[in-house]
């Protein structure tokens, strides 16, 4: 299915933001000492990975 250009751009922007968030949660977790915060960041990294996969599925459909 084809998407409108502005939709693709919107999803692209969300994907870029999510990629940044994933990088931060993944790298900063090593510096955190509080176990609960650490666990929440690990959970966020996991969820963000799944979300980026969903977004890139949309983007790859849009590029055809």
């Amino acid at each position: 299915m084809a998407y409108a250009l502005h939709e693709t751009l919107e999803v692209h922007e969300i994907a870029a933001f999510k990629a940044l968030c994933l990088t931060k949660s993944k790298t900063m977790r090593a510096l955190v000492s509080d176990p609960e915060l650490k666990q929440l960041m690990a959970m966020d990294a996991e969820i963000s990975t799944r979300q980026i996969q969903e977004l890139s599925a949309i983007l790859s459909k849009a590029s055809h």
Binding site: A4, E7, V11, E13, I14, S33, E36, L37, L55, I58
Partner: protein
Amino acid sequence: MKHMNHDYLDPINSLHVPELADTTFAMDFLIRAKEGVRNLAFALTETASPDARAVLRNQLRQAIAMHQEITELMLRKKWFHPYELQEQYQLDMLSANNTVLIGQMNLFPDDTSRIGMFDRTPDDANHGGALT
């Protein structure tokens, strides 16, 4: 950290740093969660395709849930005082002052430039150095 201490190896500088660092990481985490909720809500209002909307709506729900988790954690740890303005003000002033002190430190006095090792842009490897 009342005034600047120029001896960075002085253990006094490490006092309470892990706690201070955790509050900073949590605040960064909270800001990202907040921004995520706003970005997704905005994107959703600009999107018409049903399957794209379904993905965005789902992710918006997850983003709101994550924001709530972080807020509750920060409240529990007393890193964040939304109801006690005076306490929050003091916390903000403390972190602002510490940040200014860190900003004034000459943390990397020697030249750490790696120019010469990274003199090419990352794409050069793919295009043989020529801009297309």
